[in-house]
């Protein structure tokens, strides 16, 4: 078996947000991002809003063109495929969104929305029905929910169905973009448990996007931390959380309000906000908010370095 199901190298995505052809004003949504996802792995992407998580997800699924970089999926270079070339891949790659309420067309019963995904993947009606029956058991919802319309269901139930819809064509790779962020904690826990089950049963490979460190720590095998369009730290979950290295990762972890009244550990309070993705600071992108920043950080760009086995970080401290 190949070591990686998906590799992305030097992924870059710029959006033109103004200026003119000769002198465009560019928004750097993603700059030189590389990741490699093993089969059966849940790969976590964590970072604050606007850091490029969704853009990365959409690039990997080739739902958008790349400015630069290369993506190899299942042994095939998909970076330059056009719409037609991508069509056969659609069945193999699925996306789950954050907002379960807007994931389904309110005009249709849920069964209709789900079956459509099956048909688009050229599954026969029998195949679809059979698969749907098993999936409804997997997500622990009664089958008659499929005859209901989205407005009759709760957010948690809809998110289960969104997961079932993504699984229906039997994809090799799923991008779940903040699938639990819009849910209450108790419902969030149900969905996380479901994902744990699915990983066991289906050995699925997933890119799991979240802005919550505790959630990725709980669920993911490997985690990459993003800041302003780049990955700043990347390691297997246990390794990373045992030894947070990048000052931003540490601040991100420290800023989470700890649900423990006896946790009096010193908080790192970051000053300021994430800089604009249009006027990218020169040097380290985090330097403006980093308490360790030196002259060098302001002028030179740090690169990824393997600080301990399989633990990568991009910071001059190491």
């Amino acid at each position: 078996m190949q070591e990686y199901l998906l590799t992305a190298e030097h992924l870059t995505k710029h959006y033109r947000v103004g200026g003119n052809k000769r002198n465009p004003k560019l928004l750097h949504a993603l700059d030189d991002v590389s990741i490699a996802v093993r089969p059966g792995e849940i790969y976590g992407i964590v970072g604050e809003s606007g850091c490029g998580k969704s853009t990365l997800g959409r690039c990997l699924l080739r739902l958008t063109d790349l400015t630069d970089g290369k993506i190899v999926f299942d042994g095939k270079d998909i970076s330059k495929l056009d719409r037609r070339g991508l069509k056969p891949l659609r069945r193999d790659m699925q996306l789950i969104f954050q907002n379960p309420y807007s994931s389904f067309d309110p005009k249709y019963r849920l069964g209709v929305s789900l079956r459509e995904v099956g048909r688009a993947a050229h599954m026969s009606d029998d195949e679809i029905n059979e698969k749907l029956n098993t999936l409804m058991d997997t997500i622990a919802l009664p089958r008659d929910m499929l005859t209901r319309s989205p407005s009759e269901l709760s957010g948690g139930q809809l998110q289960r169905l969104a997961i079932a819809r993504a699984l229906l064509p039997g994809p090799k790779f799923i991008v779940a973009d903040e699938p639990v962020s819009a849910l209450d904690v108790s419902v969030q826990a149900q969905i996380l448990n479901l994902l744990v089950d699915l990983r066991k049963q289906l050995n699925m490979t997933m890119l799991f996007i979240s802005h919550e460190m505790t959630v990725v720590e709980h669920l993911c095998d490997r985690v990459a931390v993003m800041y302003l369009g780049q990955i700043v730290e990347n390691a297997p979950t246990k390794t990373l959380f045992a030894n947070l290295l990048h000052p931003y990762t540490r601040a991100l972890m420290s800023a989470i309000p700890k649900a423990d009244p006896d946790d009096h550990s010193e908080r790192i309070l970051l000053s300021g906000e994430i800089p604009s993705a249009i006027d990218i600071p020169k040097g380290c992108r985090f330097a403006g908010r980093c308490s360790h920043a030196t002259e060098r950080c302001l002028n030179e760009v740090p690169t990824m370095k393997e600080v301990e086995p399989d633990h990568f970080v991009s910071c001059f401290l190491y």
Binding site: D184, A189, L252, K258
Partner: protein, 327 residues
């Protein structure tokens, strides 16, 4: 401890297109000067509605009230509109999850804050500007002279929230009700705003009622917390007690379902089922259908709120009598 705000058996019925919703079914809550209690629970359990009832923000023609909300001894439920208008902003203020709800998109930041002083304190334009600038410094958005001229849309979510806090605190209210003020913000910005609220509480010597669904926030900033379920307060305790010694099974389940840093188990505890829709008054414990300890007592009448210890009350007959053993 004498209460500054005291809510007793507050019931609110809302007339909706789908019928009457018995949204609050008996809320009891008290808050003393300078305190920072939390009001927690799942979404739709009535925290925000309680806040709106205090602020008298619910449409009178489509809601019915009973019980009592007393602020410094004065009953608010039937107070004159004129009195409430004076109270709002001056002595009690509120901030929301989405700052744009209360910010005027067409007015500069400086004018919006200054206006408060013009209306409430009848000061000159120059004086209003001066005070607005001071307020901006206080909420941590210098340089004030530049910010004063900006419009809300030119600011990030975190800065908008600071402006809203500046407006809410402009008249140095005795009570600030903060309804999920950081829910829409990133964690590093959330930490800044929570820090600001803690500072303002001290600087302005004000009480803050913090509505949040996030028990991490409760642990970090609140002195104590009331937990709501289905339109009632089901438990009130000092923060430490709610984490270490919660009595109500719903409080326990909520806290247990939080993914924690360094958490070991693969599966998170969950709560089966969903909260009830409040189309009727629930005559019994509303949590009973989801509760592993529920027995006949729970279903037959609304559980009384009883004292567990000095600052700790809970509404669960099973846990209070330890009928469930030492769970």
């Amino acid at each position: 401890m004498s209460a500054m705000l005291e809510i007793r058996d507050l019931k609110v019925d809302l007339m909706t297109q789908r019928g009457i919703v018995y949204a609050l079914q008996g809320v009891n809550l008290a808050l003393a000067k300078g305190e920072l209690p939390g009001l927690a629970g799942g979404s739709g359990c009535g925290q925000a509605l309680t806040a709106k009832a205090i602020m008298r923000l619910l449409p009178r023609d489509r809601s019915r009230f009973s019980g009592s909300i007393r602020f410094e001894g004065t009953e608010l439920l039937d107070a004159k509109e004129k009195y409430i208008n004076k109270l709002r902003g001056d002595r009690i203020s509120m901030i929301f999850q989405d700052p744009m709800v209360s910010l005027n998109p067409l007015m500069t930041i400086g004018d919006q804050i200054g206006e408060i002083y013009r209306i409430h304190n009848h000061v000159s334009k120059a004086e209003a500007r001066k005070r607005a600038a001071e307020m901006l410094e206080l909420v941590g958005i210098p340089p004030a002279d530049k910010r004063m001229k900006q419009y809300p849309f030119e600011l990030s979510g975190g800065l908008q929230q600071r402006v809203m806090i500046a407006i809410a605190c402009a008249c140095k209210p005795e009570l600030l009700i903060a309804d999920e003020p950081t829910t829409a913000l990133d964690v590093t910005i959330q930490a800044q705003i929570l820090d600001l609220l803690k500072t303002l509480r001290k600087e302005l010597n004000m009480s803050i009622l913090l509505i949040t669904h996030n028990f991490g926030i409760v642990a970090e900033v609140c002195d104590r917390v009331s937990v709501m379920y289905a339109g009632r307060v089901i438990e009130t305790a000092d923060t430490r007690d709610i984490f270490r010694n919660a009595k109500h099974p719903y409080s326990r389940a909520l806290i247990a379902s939080i993914p924690r840093a360094g958490g070991e188990s693969e599966y998170l505890p969950t709560i089966p089922g969903a909260p009830p829709r409040l189309f009727e008054r629930i005559n019994g414990c509303a949590y009973a259908p989801r509760c592993p300890y529920a027995c006949d007592v729970c279903r037959s009448s609304v559980p009384e709120t009883n004292a567990v210890s000095e600052n700790h009350t809970a509404a669960c007959p099973v846990m209070m009598n330890d009928m469930a053993g030492n769970i």
